[in-house]
Amino acid sequence: MPLDDFLSRALDLASVQGASYCDVRLVETNQERFVVRSGAVETLSNDESQGIGVRVLVSGCWGFASTNIVAPDEIDRITNVAVEIAKASAQSSTGQVSLGPPVTSQGVYTTPIRVNPFTISLEDKLGLLLEADARMGSVKGISARTGNLIFIKEHKSFANSEGAHVEQTIYEAGGGIMATARGNGEIQRRSYPQSMRQQGCAGWEFVDSMDLAGNAERIASEAVALLSAKHCPSGVTTLIVGASQLGLQIHESCGHAIELDRVLGSEAAYAGTSFLTTDKLNNFQYGSEHINITADSVRLPGLGSYGWDDEGVPAQSTPVVQNGQFTGYLTSRETASGLNLIPNGSMRAASWNRIPLIRMNNVSLEPGNWNLDDLIADTDDGILMEMNRSWSIDDRRFNFQFGTEIGYEIKKGKLGKALRNCTYTGITPEFWNSCDAVCNEELWTMWGIPNCGKGQPGQIGHTGHGAAPARFRNIQVGVMK
């Protein structure tokens, strides 16, 4: 049976069973994973997953069912199960779901890539990691080293009962290395290009350009040097946050805070809510005039880049913070309808067996005008921190604390000695309002976060965050001391 027939089969049956709305996603995912650990290949794996998920609205209530068996009988079974579940939902439901205007998208999207990563031999991929591993291992004092690569191809077919039908093929590529040093009663680590790995919607060229091997000795040497570096001082100071750390700062303190499902309480029992309540839309100074944040699904190689979201809403760009003013949420059809907003295509499911949730796409801080040398020269006394080591934020996205792998003193406009165990902490709007400089486009990088958890049952989302280094005044640092 042609795959499209599976979609229409579910849509037709759902309609017969009384569903006022139905959407169906058929997803096939192929993945290659490589992990090298201290000279040994820990993982070389090909992973394949396929399945179909059916989501229905019956009497204004949701039901969803899925299966890994793509066969006509099974499609019928899960469609019936989805309808039964929706009817059960009605037993404990107070309102009617409204999805707003119908979505009738049609088309085909494929991530633009230069080199299909699945055409590169496994030997070449493994060789890249083994070379980087050997170079890290050449540095005396390294106790553990790891490297990883991942390549993903996901093909999705989506159709809904309003007439939408889209096909998408999304490619992702990622990689990273990490060296751990132990000695002097201390443990330190350095990573490249960022903690865990850098990942993007891209082809082999994305990983090839990282030059993992070329950076391996450097990060290993830095990890060893950190063992005897000065501790991060404790106090209030000027902080320059490096681009990759700022990417995670945006993710935690802005990206999650603007998810409208969180704001409306549907994630309250698990990940929490948000301080950006609906009364603050277009009425709240989130950050200083230097803060312009955009949520988009069109800026490659961001991990939140696609043609349509998993409700069939087209990819688009939404200004979230403009000159510091809070101006936009990430929305679903349902949540947007409730606020009379136009849905901005932010619903994504981690797999065929998960419902779509509002997920960050590419939530990025737009570049400013500074180059980093000038910014440092303009800073009389402070610290530069880079590369995330730990992260935590409260359930309303107010109080955060981040730790970084490395920091550097800034004294009289010059970068000084390295610092270890660096941390900074703050309250989200106070932090972003303290920003007085953002670096320019040349230092702006789209960082990929491939491990964003949300929802029950849990879903791992892939998000993008563009950022350049930025400066913040009067920040509490050094809580580890």
Binding site: V41, W62, A65, N353, M480
Partner: protein, 443 residues
């Protein structure tokens, strides 16, 4: 759900396709029903099933992998071949000693028919009851109720043959007023063991008593940790150091502490995958029996848990802790020995301190000592002269969990089973600690 015969037949089929020196196949199957609610109503309601075959193929000192959920003959054959081809590309790993020898596994009856086949209507009835409890107190109620079946099976060319099917049930309740929140969580392998009304009361009372919290200054305070917070401590100690890989790489909190009195003598922690008081899974992803391992005995740090690879490196036997198909060994069925004090006595013996019902978003800040940072959430209260006097605004902490357990003063006599979504379970009592380091407060 597949059942024993079908599951093992699938694995036998995969085994027959293999030309490798050695092969094992780990089957992981889940059927889940989950009803999620917020604002007093179900807003997400799902059912899903999946069966994944995880294949390891061996050639000498090399091990390749593949996974698939395509259970057709062609799909299985392709995955087996893929794992074999990956093996041939790999350099030899001298520390790899081959797939483990078969070892007899125990059987544990953690199957409950009513839980396995719980209907969405039953879950909706539970949700409705819980929501009504909140409405009576003008609270916004949210949460999730889940039920389902987990099947695992392992077959290897060396003769390993194991199958287990268990059920699971869980209820999470969050209650919120304008200035406060409460929380309760119940879980286990039998839905009827969950006292849903009591869980509702627990969540409601925290939100009611937590209204209008007062900010307290950060600093060091004695604390009474309720079970959810203690669960977080055990989970972190497991994730960041109880596995042998972390110890071998020198990044575990256990490094330099093995054989030493690192915690209070009142602290004994063990992992036991076969204990019916937990969420039992009697063997791991390699088909090895999950042996009882005492990680901490009367405050003395003993030993990490092993899979066959880390055990081979240390010249010992696997303890059966390869919890997932890839990755490091993990202690995921943990127990903390109960003491003899009631929660009331823990609080009553505290002159001035903080009663913490739950931690949130805790992350490793430094490996040494397992220094964690995180927040309190959903019910934090001041204790003065042995009494809870008022709610406090949520606090951020930055605290070594090893040091925290060195400061145990009293251990609760009642333990609670806490089961998380991905099969990690602890059974823990409440604790009174002499000191806990708070480094910030939220607004």
């Amino acid at each position: 759900m597949l059942g024993r015969e079908k599951a093992l037949a699938l694995l036998d089929k995969a085994l027959a396709y293999s030309k490798a020196e050695q092969i094992d196949i780990y089957l992981n199957s889940q059927d889940l029903g989950l009803s999620r609610f917020a604002g007093g109503a179900i807003h997400q309601n799902v059912s899903h099933g999946n069966v994944v075959l995880n294949i390891r193929s061996v050639a000498g000192k090399r091990l390749g992998r593949a996974t698939t959920n395509d259970l057709s003959d062609a799909g299985i054959q392709k995955a087996v071949e893929s794992a074999h081809q990956n093996t041939l590309l790999m350099p030899a790993d001298e520390d790899f000693l081959g797939l483990p020898q078969p070892s007899e596994t125990s059987t544990v009856d953690s199957w409950d028919e009513a839980t396995a086949f719980c209907s969405p209507e039953t879950r909706a009835t539970i949700v409705r009851g819980v929501c009504l409890q909140g409405v009576e107190h003008n609270l916004n109620v949210s949460g999730a109720c889940r039920t389902g079946v987990q099947e695992i099976a392992v077959v290897s060319s060396r003769g390993t043959r194991a199958y287990h099917a268990g059920t699971f049930a869980g209820l999470i309740i969050n209650t919120m007023s304008e200035s406060s929140a409460g929380w309760a969580k119940g879980g286990g392998w039998r839905l009827s063991d969950l006292d849903t009304e009591a869980l509702g009361k627990e969540a409601v009372s925290k939100a009611v008593e937590g209204r209008n919290p007062v900010a307290v200054d950060p600093g060091r305070y004695p604390v009474v940790l309720d079970t959810y917070a203690v669960d977080d401590i055990l989970e972190a100690l497991s994730m960041y150091g109880m596995g042998a890989q972390a110890v071998q790489e020198g990044r575990s909190w256990m490094n330099d502490l093995i054989g030493q009195q690192a915690m209070n003598p009142a602290v004994t922690i063990w992992d036991d995958g076969s204990a019916i008081q937990g969420w039992p899974v009697p063997f791991d992803a390699e088909g090895m029996p999950r042996r009882r391992v005492e990680v901490i005995t009367a405050g003395v740090v003993n030993t990490p848990v092993h899979n066959s690879y880390t055990a081979g490196k240390d010249g010992t036997l696997s303890t059966g802790h390869q919890a997932y198909f890839t990755g490091a060994p993990i202690a995921s069925n943990l127990f903390l020995q109960e003491g003899d004090s009631s929660l009331k006595e823990l609080i009553g013996s505290t002159e001035r301190g903080i009663y913490i019902t739950r931690f949130f978003y805790t992350r490793l800040a430094h490996s040494k000592g397992c220094v964690m940072t995180g927040m309190t959430r959903d019910g934090t209260f001041m204790i003065e002269n042995g009494q809870i006097t008022h709610p406090v605004k949520d606090l951020r902490f930055t605290q070594s969990y090893v040091e925290a357990l060195a400061g145990v003063e009293l251990v609760g006599r009642d333990s609670k089973l806490i089961l998380n979504e991905v099969g990690f379970a602890t059974r823990v009592p409440a604790l009174k600690l002499s000191s806990f380091n708070f480094t910030g407060v939220t607004v």
